[in-house]
């Protein structure tokens, strides 16, 4: 039986369908989750997709944090369930305090929409364990508020603990230390701004590198099942 990846739809989510297709193409069973439903229906992992949840009111991700489903996702993440936040999903994870730091307006104030070259810095997460550390991958970035910021102590801690997961090779938004994605201490929660779900087929994406994240979580889950 293939692993079930729950993909949350918030009002204003855009990439939930693409995330479901990416999960399917990589061999997982996508399960639709709803923001106003506290049940996550027995999924093995959760994907918070990109978009503009609640119209980005107040700050990106600030309102989604208070949704019914996030209470359950937070509790599941604390128990070790793999959680991936992409773009707006990354913003939701930061606003929910599942990841440190914040994502603010791009330094140049422009919406940036182009493939981003990234270096995968660690395989010690649930979502990158099948990717060689140091590998260069390409995934589309498309965001207006993707500049990662945190205080120096937090940034130093992230670096020392190997929790910077993705780094931009051509920083598109002014993110501190070129950070494109990070993980929590346990390595089960990962957030990144570029979109793995838009890099799964040669016809529509700049690469198929996004499949590696789903392959990683499938490997992580089957390893857990063997234990």
């Amino acid at each position: 039986m293939s692993a079930r990846i729950g993909i949350v739809t918030f009002p204003g989510s855009l990439d939930d369908r693409d995330a479901a297709r990416a999960a399917y193409l990589a061999g997982a069973e996508p399960v639709a989750l709803w923001h106003d439903d506290a049940q996550i229906h027995g999924v093995d992992a959760v994907w918070l997709p990109g978009g503009f949840s609640y119209g980005d009111a107040l700050r990106c991700g600030a309102i989604a944090r208070f949704s019914q489903v996030m209470d359950t996702v937070k509790a599941a993440a604390a128990q070790g369930m793999p959680v991936l936040g992409v773009c707006n999903g990354f913003q939701v994870l930061c606003e929910s305090h599942l990841l440190p730091g914040a994502l603010v307006r791009n330094a140049h104030l422009r919406y940036r929409n182009r493939p981003a070259r990234l270096r995968v810095e660690t395989d010690r997460t649930a979502w990158t364990n099948a990717i060689e550390p140091g590998a260069e991958v390409v995934m589309p970035a498309k965001h207006g508020e993707g500049r990662y910021v945190a205080d120096e102590a937090t940034l130093d801690a992230l670096e020392q603990q190997g929790r910077v997961v993705f780094r931009y090779l051509d920083n598109p938004n002014g993110s501190m230390r070129d950070i494109a994605g990070i993980t929590n201490e346990a390595g089960n929660v990962v957030g990144l701004m570029p979109h793995p779900e838009h890099a799964v087929e040669a016809l529509t994406g700049p690469s198929t590198d996004g499949l590696g994240l789903v392959a990683s979580v499938l490997a992580h889950l089957s390893e857990g099942a063997r234990r």
């Binding site: 107040l58 700050r59 600030a62 208070f66 930061c94 606003e95 440190p100 730091g101 914040a102 603010v104 307006r105 791009n106 330094a107 140049h108 104030l109 910021v149 945190a150 205080d151 002014g174």
Partner: protein, 81 residues
Amino acid sequence: MARVVVDVMLKSEILDPQGEAVLGALPRLGVTEVASVRIGKRVEIEFDENAQNVEEQSRVIADQLLANPVIESFAISIEAA
């Protein structure tokens, strides 16, 4: 009815590109003696007639929702009914 105003500002160490853009436009207005512009949010809250602990509740609203303490600071002012 208590009226509360919460001002939310980006912390000084966080770059404010909107403020920078406004600063950059000022010379076009003929204003050349401005050193810095920072842009924030002003939130006006009206509590119910009989609301209790208005200051405490305002602090919760500001700290846990209106401002993200990672990047923003806030100031609360309460205007008596």
